[in-house]
């Protein structure tokens, strides 16, 4: 029973990181109908920036803030520089452009920082917490991870609901043409969406790096699982992204915990199993209303 609690709690902590990546993908998908394969690469790069800032200033929080700001800038810059020119071209072109961007970012990171693994500090103590005398399997740092992503998600949800920018973003995602006719600058809204996605990705990068280390490919597997979480939840639904991330995180934690060493080898297979089962019943994810197309 104690084991079960430990696996659940640590699964929630990892799941929230997948949820952050999934949320960033959902933000971009709603605005541009595009999968951003560079999301993980951008997060990796902002984590390197955070590492540099922490090394020079000695302050974790300075690095944390700079990473988020860098994510914001990188997201907007990527959209303006390479994604906007693909508008109106075959839709897979934009996907390949994001793949090119991912490879470019990984190459630049390799040139600047080399390939070696670098450790990244955690925000708080990584010593396991205890309730009385039973260890909970999570540390203060893990609690911070879950809380930070939850706070970001709630802030986003509030922003979408109660601010005029949020209203414009929802309008543009709902129907770009109608939004444009009502005076929404859809192109600018899309840039804002990419910037926010970059920020969420940067947050995920900073939060996951204490356990994965930082290297040019460090975010690849996190990205794949975040993508999986977004697909499970439904790419149109921010709530689905969080639920998908949590579901995936907890399930993978059980698999790793109960199946032993073979379980950690089969992480991706377990994720695939969950994905297949979910998509069998909900081909458009849990939270997306399916569209019937039948003769």
């Amino acid at each position: 029973m104690v084991e079960f609690l430990q696996f659940t709690l640590s699964g929630i902590s990892f799941g929230m990181i997948y949820a952050a990546i999934a949320l960033s993908l959902v933000l971009i998908w709603r605005g541009t109908r595009l999968l951003n394969f560079a999301q993980g690469g951008m997060a990796m790069f902002t984590t390197y920036i955070a590492l540099e800032v922490i090394r020079h200033t000695g302050s974790y929080w300075a690095g944390f803030a700079v990473a988020l700001a860098a994510g914001l800038v990188l997201g907007a810059a990527a959209e303006l520089a390479v994604i906007r020119p693909t508008l109106g071209k075959p839709e897979l072109n934009a996907v390949i452009v994001t793949i090119g961007l991912l490879i470019l970012i990984e190459g630049v990171a390799g040139i600047m920082y080399g390939g070696q693994f670098r450790s990244f500090p955690a925000a708080f103590s990584v010593v396991g917490l205890k309730a009385g005398s039973t260890p909970l399997g999570v540390s203060r740092a893990d609690v911070f991870v879950a809380a930070a992503v939850l706070a970001a998600a709630l802030l986003l949800a509030t922003g979408f609901r109660y601010t005029s920018v949020g209203l414009r973003m929802r309008a543009a995602a709902f129907n770009a043409t109608v939004a444009r006719l009502s005076g929404v600058r859809v192109a600018r809204v899309i840039t804002v969406g990419w910037a926010l996605a970059g920020l969420l990705g940067a947050l995920a990068g900073v939060l996951v790096s204490p356990s994965t280390f930082v290297y040019p490919n460090s975010m690849d597997s996190v990205f794949v699982l975040g993508f999986t979480a977004a697909v499970i939840g439904g790419l149109d639904s921010p709530a689905g992204a969080v639920v998908g991330g949590l579901l995936l995180g907890v399930a993978l934690s059980y698999a790793g915990g109960y199946l032993g060493s073979q379980g950690s080898d089969l992480t991706a297979l377990v994720a695939l199993g969950i994905l297949v089962v979910v998509l069998m019943f909900r081909p458009d994810g849990i939270f997306t209303a399916g569209r019937m197309r039948r003769v």
Binding site: V82, V97, D265, L269
Partner: protein, 401 residues
């Protein structure tokens, strides 16, 4: 659009092109050294896999990021067969690998038949990540991280001094050419027309009597078989089958090659494969010859490759094959220009709901497109794979019945 290029080729022309390519490959493999032989084999393997993927994604409209997994299945089948049945000739092993991956493709295709766009992309991407990890989980059968060794030798009648790499280049090129010829014929046949119909509008295709589910699964089977053959060849050329060869990068590179060459065209598959194999090698040569530090020299090709991908997609929206055709058109080759269908989306609803093959199709507008490629208005399709340019009238035009 460039699928037209494939369609208008007659069988003698396809066979002639294949024959000329075969002669060129033999000539090059004799003239050039061992390393170039290896590159020829590498390109042929890439072409085999990418040609299958371009049929799946470009013709039937299903995106797959999982063809690396099928390559892994083909490679492990080859390695296990050669390990346990050493007396089997290689062509028998190839056939067995093709059959096994075709079966795997049928299973995945049936599971994927309800999925669309990014959901299909996500499921297949995870498949390509998950499958190689099985090898790690069962090291007794699959050799774990170290992988399985493959013994592949040149046949005795070529003499003892015949370089193995040349034989590998020949075998790989032969398989690639046969695959291309078969796919070109398949794409011109009723099967290919059904795929295009399903890609353009599923509901309309079903109304016209196409069995949508069967067409989609069949496309997966064909694509998986090609990938399986490529995997078998890879096993023979690298002499080692290990999970590290079948990463997420491989599957992504296959899709990249198909799109960057020109999606849905076999010429595009060849162009894309050449680019994918040669650009990193060339950039590495340049970087190392300038005496840069290893971290820089090994990563400059990576960065350059990324830049090339972005630039090609922005400059040539229809891929390299489409870009070449456009350049030839500019240079005034009217024959090339005449094959290009109109770029503006035509009257889609009447074409989509056209009666089934057999009734006389209405005369479409002339196929010569006056504007540059990609000048038509943006497609309103929300499907990930909706492509403009391949207009419905080009399908009616080639209905032979």
């Amino acid at each position: 659009m460039s699928a037209t290029g494939v369609r208008t080729q007659s069988t003698p022309r396809i066979l002639g092109a294949a024959l000329v390519t075969a002669v060129v490959v033999v000539f090059l493999s004799v003239k050039l050294g061992t390393f170039r032989d290896y590159q020829i084999a590498e390109i042929a393997i890439e072409v085999t896999a990418v040609a299958g993927l371009t049929v799946l994604t470009g013709l039937s409209g299903q995106i797959s990021l999982g063809n690396g997994a099928f390559m892994a299945i083909g490679a492990y089948t080859t390695a296990l067969l050669l390990l346990h049945f050493a007396s089997w000739p290689f062509y028998a092993v190839l056939v067995a690998a093709a059959v096994v991956t075709a079966a795997a493709g049928a299973v995945v295709g049936m599971a994927a038949a309800r999925l669309r766009g990014p959901y299909l992309a996500g499921a297949t991407l995870l498949l390509s990540v998950a499958l190689p990890s099985v090898a790690n989980a069962y090291p007794g059968t699959f050799g774990g991280d170290q992988g399985l060794n493959v013994v592949f030798t040149a046949p005795g009648f070529l003499g003892v001094n015949f370089p193995l790499t040349r034989w590998q280049a020949w075998v790989c090129s032969a398989v690639a050419l046969v695959t291309l010829v078969l796919l070109a014929n398949l794409s011109r046949s009723r099967v290919g027309r059904n795929w295009r119909a399903v890609r353009d509008d599923e509901v309309a295709a079903a109304l016209a009597g196409v069995n949508v589910a069967r067409a989609r699964v069949l496309a997966f089977v064909v694509s998986a078989t090609c990938a399986g053959l490529a995997g078998a060849l890879l096993a023979a050329v690298t002499a080692l089958v290990a999970p590290g060869a079948f990463t997420i990068t491989l599957s992504i590179a296959l899709l990249t090659a198909a799109v960057i060459g020109g999606l849905g065209t076999l010429a595009g598959a060849v162009c894309g494969s050449l680019l994918i194999v040669l650009v990193p090698t060339y950039a590495t040569d340049v970087a190392t010859s300038h005496g840069l530090s290893t971290a820089v020299a090994s990563n400059i090709p990576v960065a350059a490759y990324g830049v090339v991908l972005i630039l090609v997609m922005l400059v040539f929206p229809q891929g390299i094959a489409g870009g070449l055709r456009w350049l030839l058109g500019l240079a005034g080759f009217s024959a090339v220009r005449a094959r290009r269908p109109a770029t503006a989306p035509g009257p889609a609803p009447p074409a989509g709901t056209a009666p089934p093959a057999g009734t006389a199709p209405p005369a479409g507008p002339p196929p010569a497109g006056p504007g540059p490629i990609g000048s038509g208005p943006a497609s309103q399709h929300d499907a990930l794979l909706a492509r403009k340019g391949d207009t419905p009238e080009s399908h009616e035009k080639e209905d032979p019945q």
